[in-house]
């Protein structure tokens, strides 16, 4: 997200490394929480991280970050060297988190392009006091240890400073190649005019041959080998083109953008070619073998590309070397990291989305080909075609799997954040709560992670705040075990289930019912008809809170509906189970794949409808005598002694020319969560992989439809939203 704002290598690197450091810092901190103290490894790790951050921010001249990091480093230097006993761990942990939060905040400012101007004086003062305190308590016995002044933590080398350029740097590097028509007079002067024109916009410019003014012979060199310019400017290639084209006799101009490294390399090579005594054109001489075809413009491109290739190879080698060098320094401490980082590349998420879209289109195109009406000529021998089709289908489904797998990320990071939230909130509320994490390696789509993290945070806060009773209350009611929240994730039949359970007081069915009645949410149903789940689901409605008091963390009743909305956005549902006095479990069930699903197609009055195949439990022909009509007009079908509510799609969407008689059409039993519904349609069409596309925004939300897709014959099919149909 910040990519387009920061074009500066050094800053990028600083932000990346610092963020990584802080993440490790928090994890180390949380790891040690239960132990109540830092072991030697932790102390060393934290010391190392703070040292690195201090160094890096000093180089970048972010004084506030550097000072703060230095202070924390001092504290850990003292701990490492003097090994004081009985240091107040929780207090220290708080300071660590405060430091981490502060630096993170400053990093955000830097990313936005503003100056990190936060003031950490108070925090530094606190750390100072803390340091004095532990020094004091440790100092009693060993006075000499106190001598080791922690302020002089080993300063390893001379300070370096990096002065970032004033504005966000947006200059580009170009290599320009100009050829002149062979009959041009004084090509050197023409070339110089071009250079002169560019000087106005150039931050830096180099050209070869460089002696175009002083050496009249260079005219022939320019004619023969072309004229090369390396240019650094903030202008675009078009502007450069226009400027160059002001001089006459130009045959062809090529403007290529290159990186600063290539640029530098090019400059160096141009220099090398221009040593006194050597011909000006020597740079270009190497790759060019046949001087006879000079007059033609085309072959001249070849030497350039060849040279560029050479340049890029050289550059790569240089880069690798440099990377090697860079890696050597931190490698001392973390040799394992290296292999890990090397086997990953990071890809812009937009590119992944594009790839995903393209694969979706490919699946559609594939079904258009395979189900093409042209193939339906009677007597056509399609056996070879079918074989090829099977192969194609196999490959494209593997392709889908591959892209899905590529987008998968473990939930680890998200879960780790929750750790911090539990720590913060429980501390503030004075509750003793531990968090257990299960299945943090479960992988889900990146898109889902983004949608899941907010709701998850909310659920956790709810559990800490409302779910789990205060320590005194727990004592009082005889709950002896510690308050506990279990955060679990697992894959379950094409879905990922993420659940938050607590062993707190649970939901009060009666209270919720009462409130629901007051708000008129029951409709015409009686209390008894409602299952526990339905009752608990009331708490996900907007503005519904039974909590009388609002706390800092939750209780305004705007929470749960937002949670549900977020989950629904990725096609998931929230399930709530609870037992009063024992605790509650909130489970988010989210489909793993979002874009391509197996669909069952059926038609009503010539319109196709699709439902996800795994939602279809059976098709059945039903006779009229199985139909039960309630006095209020609601219809039900009895199938093997079970009663299903019936939805006739033709009536629901007001379509004529369809089958009215139950026995003529077909009934499809669809399930959603644990409820079932019977849907009446004219006929089944078939099963097919479908690519879910949203309904275009110019169409108002249609009840019971969640999206649309294109079928093999090019027709549009509507995707049924079963949950919506049930809730109609």
């Amino acid at each position: 997200m910040a990519d387009d704002m920061i074009t500066e290598g050094m800053l990028d690197m600083f932000i990346f490394e610092t963020e990584q450091g802080l993440e490790t810092l928090e994890n180390v901190g949380l790891d040690s929480r239960d132990a109540g103290e830092f072991d030697d490894d932790h102390v060393n790790e934290i010391f190392r991280i703070m040292h690195t951050i201090k160094g890096a921010s000093a180089v970048m001249m972010y004084q506030n970050i550097a000072t703060l990091a230095h202070k924390l480093e001092d504290v850990f230097y003292f701990i490492r060297e003097s090994k004081p006993e009985n240091i107040p761990h929780a207090e220290l942990l708080d300071y660590i988190f405060e430091v981490s939060d502060f630096i993170n905040g400053e990093l955000e400012k830097i990313k936005e392009g503003s100056d990190p101007d936060g003031v950490a004086d108070e925090l530094i003062a606190n750390l100072d006091t803390y340091l004095k305190k532990i020094q004091g308590s440790a100092g009693g016995g060993s006075a000499k240890k106190e001598e080791a002044p922690p302020a002089h933590a080993p300063e390893e080398d001379k300070p370096h400073f990096y002065i970032a350029p004033v504005a966000s740097e947006d200059s580009h590097f170009y290599s320009i190649y100009i050829t002149y028509s062979p009959d041009t007079d004084m090509a050197n002067i023409k070339a110089y005019i071009a250079v002169n024109a560019l000087k106005g916009i150039a931050e830096d410019i180099l050209f070869t041959p460089s002696d175009i003014i002083s050496n009249p012979d260079s005219a022939s060199v320019v004619l023969e080998f072309g004229f090369k310019i390396a240019l650094q400017t903030t202008e675009t290639a078009d502007v450069i083109m226009d400027l160059i084209n002001t001089s006459s006799g130009i045959d062809q101009v090529e403007v290529n953008e290159c990186t600063s490294d290539e640029f530098l390399k090019f400059c160096a090579e141009a220099e090398a070619g221009n040593h006194p005594g050597s011909s000006a054109g020597e740079v270009l001489l190497g790759p060019i073998e046949q001087p006879t075809v000079r007059t033609d413009a085309k072959p001249k491109e070849i030497p350039l590309t060849e040279e560029e290739e050479k340049v890029s190879v050289a550059r790569k080698a240089e880069k690798e070397e440099e990377q090697e060098k860079k890696k050597l320094a931190p490698k001392k401490k973390k040799p394992a990291k290296k292999a890990e980082t090397q086997s990953f590349i990071s890809v812009n998420i937009q590119k992944m989305d594009l790839l995903m879209d393209l694969i979706g289109e490919l699946v559609i195109a594939q079904s258009v080909v395979l189900q093409n009406p042209d193939l339906k000529v009677p007597g056509l021998d399609l056996s070879n075609f079918q074989k090829a089709a099977v192969q194609l289908t196999k490959i494209s489904s593997e392709l889908q799997d591959a892209i899905m797998a590529m987008r998968m990320m473990p939930l680890k990071n998200t879960f780790q954040k929750m750790n911090r939230i539990v720590y913060d909130t429980s501390k503030k509320l004075g509750k003793d709560i531990e968090l257990e994490v299960i299945g943090e390696d479960t992988e889900v789509d990146k898109n889902i992670i983004e949608h899941v993290s907010d709701p998850l945070m909310h659920l956790i806060r709810n559990s800490v705040d409302h779910g789990i009773e205060s320590n005194e209350k727990r004592q009082e009611i005889g709950k002896h075990e510690k308050g506990k929240i279990v955060l679990a994730a697992k894959n379950e039949g094409g879905q990922v289930w993420i659940s938050v359970s607590d062993n707190g007081k649970g939901l009060k069915r009666d209270e919720i019912l009462e409130k629901a009645k007051k708000n008129g949410l029951l409709g015409n149903r009686s209390e008894r008809d409602l299952t526990d789940k339905e009752v608990f689901n009331f708490i996900t409605l907007p503005g519904f809170s039974t909590k009388k008091q609002v706390t800092e963390y939750s209780g305004r009743g705007v929470g749960m509906d937002v949670v549900v909305k977020n989950i629904q956005e990725v096609g998931g549902v929230l399930e709530i189970e609870s037992e009063e006095g024992k605790g509650s479990t909130m489970t988010m069930k989210i489909p793993l794949t979002l874009a391509i699903i197996d669909g069952m197609i059926f038609s009503v009055a010539g319109t196709n409808f699709v439902s996800a195949t795994n939602a279809v439990s059976e098709f059945i022909r039903v006779d009229e005598d199985q139909l039960v009509i309630e006095p209020d007009g609601e219809e039900y079908v009895m199938i093997r002694e079970i009663c299903y509510p019936l939805v006739r799609l033709n009536r629901f969407y007001h379509m004529s020319n369809s089958k009215e008689n139950l026995s003529d059409g077909i009934v499809i039993i669809l399930n959603h969560e644990d409820r079932k519904i019977a849907v009446f349609a004219d006929e089944l069409v078939g099963e097919q992989e479908i690519v879910v596309k949203p309904i275009p925004s110019y169409i108002k939300k249609v009840k019971g439809i969640s999206g649309c897709t294109q079928l093999g014959d090019g027709s549009i099919s509507l995707i049924l939203d079963i949950g919506d149909l049930i809730g109609k």
């Binding site: 050094m10 370096h160 002065i163 350029p165 004033v166 200059s171 600063s260 440099e322």
Partner: protein, 130 residues
Amino acid sequence: MRTLIAEDDFASRKFMLKFLSKYGECDPTVDGMEAVDAYLMGLEADMPYDLVCLDIMMPKLDGYQALKAIRDIEDERNIPENKRAKIIMTTALNEGANVNRAFDLGCVAYAGKPIDQAKFENVLRKLELI
């Protein structure tokens, strides 16, 4: 403070000259070669430069080469650490690799162009040059 500026671009050179002249004598040079020569002359005359600002992309000798040459001369003459010139690279090449390379070669600061004057002065203060 005696300052040596090596910068091939006229406008940048003029800017640096104006900017740094208020802190003492400033000598402009137009490429790396001339900068090294000027630095040597300073040493010979026993009036060494306190600060050297080197552009990186320069004809004849680029900034890296000039930086290395100056450090080599100082090594050869056994000039003590605190007497050595403070070298600041001034360049538009801001990629990490370039910056680290310059640090490895022994410059104290690396200033990206366009130059942030306030920060530049800040560094000079830290280096106790002004």
